[in-house]
């Protein structure tokens, strides 16, 4: 029963996405950045500079035909640097969100389904984690582990999995009352199988929405950490780091910090807009209103 209705639902969902102009626009931007990051070495005008090769004689050149985004303090083409930076940011987003989901969702589903002591313990743990202002906790973690992109990503994942645990748990608690779950229990299907066969697919919706929007939060958080020196280190073409190094040149050579930051903004707003539209489309209440157009 759940499989058949899912595909009609999916078809309607896809159609509603297609009709939503803002959703399509943001999806376009996301796809653009994905393509850019995959093809970076081929489409960047100066790939070696993108990865860090200094060009001393071309320092601080303003945007021109040869260097559409200008050059930085080491003479490197800013456009190439930004293109290579896309790889890092997207990778960070995917990594942090996926790890947080992979840790948090199973824990939350299990806690929500089995209830009792397991649930209590998990709730207290997530309460504690969620009491930390997440970036502060990430800062402390990175400071302990040592600065670096990888440590920053791990720290962010550790700070974020509780959200997903909570989300998954709330879903599990609702779904486990559904008739088909009760039917499976009666037949004698084992608990864990129920959790992953029945609960998981039907709990996906809010998780996907949250995950999409968290992509942008992850990218922003990581850029912030790199900005204060706790994330990516030179000569990495990470966007936050570029804004940080470029900051002192803002008033004279503005292109150097402005363009990487603009890229962060575009990616973040694209993921957020898409997640936002997705949420409106998938939420049964607003969906009906939108469907009754």
């Amino acid at each position: 029963m759940s499989r058949l209705t899912l595909s009609k639902e999916t078809k309607i969902t896809l159609e509603l996405i297609r009709r939503d102009k803002l959703a399509m626009l943001s999806l376009l931007i996301i796809t653009f950045f994905v393509v850019v990051s995959i093809t970076a070495p081929f489409i960047a005008p100066y790939p070696s500079q993108g990865e860090g090769l200094p060009v001393p004689e071309k320092r601080f050149l303003p945007p021109s035909f040869e260097n559409p985004f200008g050059t930085d303090y080491l003479g490197r083409d800013v456009l190439s640097r930004v293109i290579f930076g896309a790889r890092i940011s997207l990778f960070v987003g995917i990594f942090v969100v996926c790890v947080a989901i992979m840790i948090g969702v199973p824990l939350g589903l299990i806690a929500g389904y089995f209830g009792g002591k397991v649930d209590e313990i998990l709730m207290r743990i997530t309460d504690v984690f969620l009491s930390f202002p997440s970036l502060l906790f990430a800062i402390a973690l990175v400071a302990t582990l040592g600065p670096g992109l990888f440590n920053a990503m791990i720290s962010l994942s550790i700070t974020w999995w509780p959200w997903y645990a909570r989300l998954a748990r709330a879903q599990a608690v609702t779904i486990k009352e559904q008739p088909y779950v009760l039917a499976s229990q009666v037949i004698g299907v084992k608990g864990l199988t129920i959790v992953f066969r029945h609960l998981l697919p039907n709990a996906l919706t809010p998780i996907i929405v949250q995950g999409t929007m968290d992509m942008s939060s992850a990218i922003l958080a990581e850029a912030g950490l790199s900005f204060i020196g706790l994330g990516a280190q030179a000569p990495s073409p990470e966007w936050g780091l570029m804004v940080s190094t470029g900051r002192i040149y803002l008033l004279n050579y503005w292109w150097f910090p402005v363009f990487p930051g603009l890229a962060i903004f575009l990616v973040a707003i694209a993921f957020n807009l898409f997640g936002d539209s997705l949420r409106d489309i998938l939420d049964p209440k607003t969906r009906k209103a939108g469907g009754q157009m």
């Binding site: 009491s131 202002p133 502060l136 800062i139 400071a143 942008s216 903004f265 807009l273 936002d276």
Partner: protein, 341 residues
């Protein structure tokens, strides 16, 4: 109001339990996780004697459970360790830098509450029309914009190009010399106003506008979204339809009957955004050279001043727990439905 009292009590106990675990986690983080806790405290450049001395002082040679008890005792007494650079107690440093941070955080959140409720409710009224879509893009934009970058842009535009606001700092140097602010609360804007120092007041306001505005973008986005979705839900309720069908004026329905229901989500959004404000303030302070906790922390990071970083984390978390307690309690007081949780 019996149910409110029980809610409040439960909430306080929960907060204390959480605090206990928070402190434990920070202990684990600083004493158990690192392979060499001593090095974190004295820095990599310390001599062997300095290390030995630190290990003795900090009790790092004691069994773990004794260290734990010590840690707790210190914290309860307000001892967050000593800063590596300045050799002053971290708590003292924090309290010195705190007012500057609070000034922009509070101002930003007030702005967010006002603008967010206004935008959010207007957006719900004009649902699916152009104004709604526009406000939606603005609020999503607010939540997506990297604060440090936006800060730079405002500096570029308002100082570099237009020249109407100062670049950074809390006061211009000449005002600091000739019209210094007599400290009462630590908030320059308020202090200068209540001591009648108009020159300093104008100057401090001119300096605080950009940082507060940049810091407010995220909360504005959050509050707008939450208020909008709550208002849309409320406007679909039967009692709104009933009121309309029976001749209640639109303004009355909107500003009195519907808006009162929007207070709860606005407060919830504010609670969420406060977490962000604390850390967002860090980034904004750095750009505007605002002498608050953010600048302190970032400098501590640059100099590997581990006690200071950890101290700020603990302090910030405790502060955050209490803010949440306050907001939850306020919500339960205003909205009876919340107490049932």
């Amino acid at each position: 109001m019996a149910s409110f009292k029980t809610y409040f009590l439960k909430r306080i106990i929960l907060a204390l339990v959480v605090l206990y675990f928070v402190i434990t986690i920070t202990f684990v983080l600083s004493h158990v996780v690192p392979s060499d806790p001593a090095e974190l405290y004295v820095g990599p450049k310390a001599t062997a004697e300095q290390r030995e001395k630190a290990i003795k002082e900090l009790g790092l040679d004691q069994p773990l459970y004794i260290q734990y008890i010590r840690y707790f005792k210190n914290l309860v007494n307000g001892d967050l360790g000593k800063s590596l650079r300045a050799h002053t107690p971290v708590l003292h440093d924090i309290l010195t830098y705190l007012p500057a941070t609070l000034e922009i955080v509070i101002l930003a959140n007030i702005l967010a509450l006002i603008i967010g409720v206004a935008f959010g409710s207007y957006s719900a009224l004009k649902k699916d029309m152009f104004a709604d879509h526009l406000i939606r893009v603005i609020s999503v934009g607010g939540v997506s914009i990297p604060s440090f970058w936006f800060a730079l842009i405002t500096q570029l535009v308002f100082f570099g190009i237009l020249g109407i606001f100062p670049l950074d700092g809390r006061l211009s140097s000449d005002v600091q010399l000739f019209n210094p602010v007599h400290t009462v609360t630590g908030f320059f804007t308020i202090d200068s106003l209540i001591t009648g120092n108009i020159v300093a007041f104008v100057d401090s306001v001119r300096h605080i506008i950009l940082p507060a505005f940049v810091l407010a973008t995220y909360p504005i986005g959050l509050v707008t979204r939450m208020v909008r979705s709550m208002m849309v839900e409320v406007l679909n309720e039967n009692y709104i339809r009933f009121a309309k069908a029976n001749g209640f004026r639109d303004n009355l329905i909107y500003y009195k009957y519907a808006l009162k229901n929007a207070i709860t989500p606005a407060l919830m959004a504010l609670g969420l955004s406060f977490a962000y404000s604390i850390t967002g303030a860090f980034l904004v302070e750095v750009i505007f050279s605002w002498p608050g906790l953010g600048t302190y922390t970032v400098n501590a990071i640059l100099e590997n001043d581990y006690p200071a970083i950890l101290g700020v984390t603990i302090f910030g978390t405790i502060f955050y727990v209490f803010i949440n307690l306050f907001l939850d309690t306020l919500q339960a007081y205003l909205d009876p439905r919340v107490r049932l949780q």
